[in-house]
């Protein structure tokens, strides 16, 4: 009973604070609709019900986040580092293979299931005229996130500075951009942003912070953040890379065929010429 009361108090308190998080966007939309565009707000009842749903939903989500998503990330980080920390005081990055594997698995699975990514992937398929398949793109993005989060964990374990990795990734992206076709560039850049869903972000962030708290010699303040940055930059790289490979195969295929037919033409000409 007291647990239920606690929950109710927690819930009401969260609702009271989230009102101020949701009010600005509602106020902005209504002001622009009524004052600037001078149009009536249609379906007022739907908007009021919608607003209440948003409010209750956000409060419930934030409570769930505190009770489930953050603890899950932290617990996994702790248990995985405990499993690794056997070889004495010095931190050897090779002891933490399980952590990298877990990070890659979470990154890959969560990204593949993300609905916004599906929308972007379908658009990419359309833009490229079918050369880039929606599935291929989704797998490319998921692999990008998996490699990114995994490498991010490696960075936390080794304690190497975050900017080295991110700036290096920027350089690779810039080089790839100059070699990529114009149509894929905006999509590739956007795919970095859409991968990090509301559910994935807290789990991945907690994993990083938990890792920094449990690996000896790391500080959560300096080393704990950055996993989400990895998860946002690496998909850009993998999508540009995937597009480059697809166009290369396309060109080789066409070029190879063209050369082949040209060669066989020559040969037939040659055989025709020889007898004469």
């Amino acid at each position: 009973m007291s647990a239920l009361l606690d929950f109710a108090a927690d819930f009401l308190g969260t609702v009271a604070t989230t009102v101020f998080d949701v009010l600005p966007i509602l106020a902005i939309l209504v002001v622009f609709q009524v004052v600037v565009l001078r149009r009536r707000v249609q379906n007022l009842r739907g908007i009021v019900v919608g607003f209440l749903c948003v409010l209750l939903g956000l409060a419930l989500f934030l409570i769930g986040l505190e009770r489930a998503l953050f603890p899950i990330g932290e617990t996994m980080a702790r248990q995985l580092t405990e499993a690794a920390a056997t070889s004495g005081a010095a931190v050897d990055w090779r002891d933490y293979t399980l952590v990298y594997a877990f990070a890659a698995a979470i990154g890959f699975a969560a990204t593949l299931a993300a609905p916004p990514l599906l929308a972007v992937a379908l658009k990419a398929q359309k833009v490229s005229g079918g050369a880039i398949s929606a599935w291929g793109l989704r797998i490319a993005v998921a692999v990008g996130v998996a490699v990114g989060v995994s490498l991010g964990c490696f960075r936390i374990v080794t304690g190497t500075p975050l900017p080295w990795y991110i700036v290096a990734a920027y350089v690779v992206v810039i080089v790839q951009t100059f070699r990529a076709s114009r149509t894929i560039i905006p999509l590739a850049y956007d795919s970095g942003g859409v991968t990090t869903s509301t559910v994935t972000v807290p789990v991945v962030a907690a994993l990083g912070l938990g890792l920094a708290a449990n690996v000896p010699g790391r500080s959560p303040l300096i080393d704990g953040f950055g996993l989400i940055a990895f998860a946002s930059v690496f998909p850009i790289m993998s999508v540009l890379g995937y597009a480059a490979v697809v166009s290369l195969i396309g060109r080789l295929g066409k070029g190879g065929n063209a050369a082949g037919t040209a060669g066989s033409n020559d040969q037939t000409k040659g055989t025709e010429l020889n007898p004469s």
Binding site: V22, P24, L29, G64, T75, Q79, T198, F225
Partner: protein, 243 residues
């Protein structure tokens, strides 16, 4: 009845969002670690809260906020002054980001970490104000990012030059920014673009690119998200230097 059906569909979507994470964790717990999960009951209650909360949240957005947002974006795309359009872009980016659940969570976590490490005073007040300021800086930056993205669509600027300029700025600012803000700043970019911002901003971009002659919605409608992802990094780094 209709709303019950709609919420049912959202529940399914939220479950699908959560399922891969739960499956991966269950696999590692059962097969690799073979350890009991502490506080399992509490965590399960929390997961139910996450699923129901996310379903309600998205259903509320779809039935209430998104339709107005889309109709305003469309109205501005077809007519109206550029100044008003840019003002709307600024407000939309700001307001959507303030309500973004992932950002609320990460800002609170960043405040917690900063307080424990002694970077800010370890009081409720200091933590709340740190988290609030961080969110305001990020929300303002997303507002400016959407303005820049709309300007790009209007003027037809190539996206990669702007992005590369952004990368260069981030690199330069990183050298001067204090170490403890760098991680939070880099993460801020990925956090901002989720549940609310992506649909509202994409509607604006695609609506604009469709209604302006010579713009391809496929090509020019995108890129707003990329700006919304990059700008917070620059702003938070700068904020860290000023603090």
């Amino acid at each position: 009845m209709a709303i019950a059906l709609a919420i049912g569909k959202r529940l399914r979507d939220a479950l699908r969002d959560l399922a891969p994470i739960v499956l991966v964790i269950a696999f590692f717990q059962a097969v690799v670690l073979q350890q009991p999960f502490p506080n399992l009951g509490n965590v399960l209650v929390g997961l139910v809260c996450v699923v129901v909360g996310l379903a309600l949240f998205i259903q509320g957005l779809e039935s209430g906020l998104f339709p107005i947002g889309e109709s305003i974006a469309e109205a501005f795309a077809h007519k109206g002054s550029a100044t008003l359009l840019l003002a709307f872009a600024l407000c939309l980016g700001f307001g959507a980001t303030v309500a973004e659940p992932a950002l609320i969570a990460i800002a609170a976590e960043a405040a917690e970490v900063a307080a424990e490490a002694g970077a800010i005073a370890n009081s409720d007040e200091a933590r709340t104000s740190y988290a609030f300021n961080l969110r305001m800086v990020v929300a303002t930056s997303v507002g400016f990012a959407i303005v820049l993205g709309v300007l790009r669509i209007l003027k037809g600027w190539p996206i990669h030059r702007l992005i590369i300029t952004g990368y260069v700025l981030v690199t330069i600012l990183t050298v001067f920014a204090p170490d403890e803000i760098v991680g939070v700043a880099y993460d801020a970019g990925g956090v901002t673009t989720s549940t609310i911002t992506v649909p509202l901003v994409t509607a604006l971009g695609v609506g604009l690119a469709t209604s302006i002659k010579g713009r391809d919605p496929m090509l020019d409608g995108f890129g707003l998200i990329a700006f919304a992802c990059g700008m917070p990094v620059i702003f938070v780094l700068a904020y860290g230097m000023v603090m």
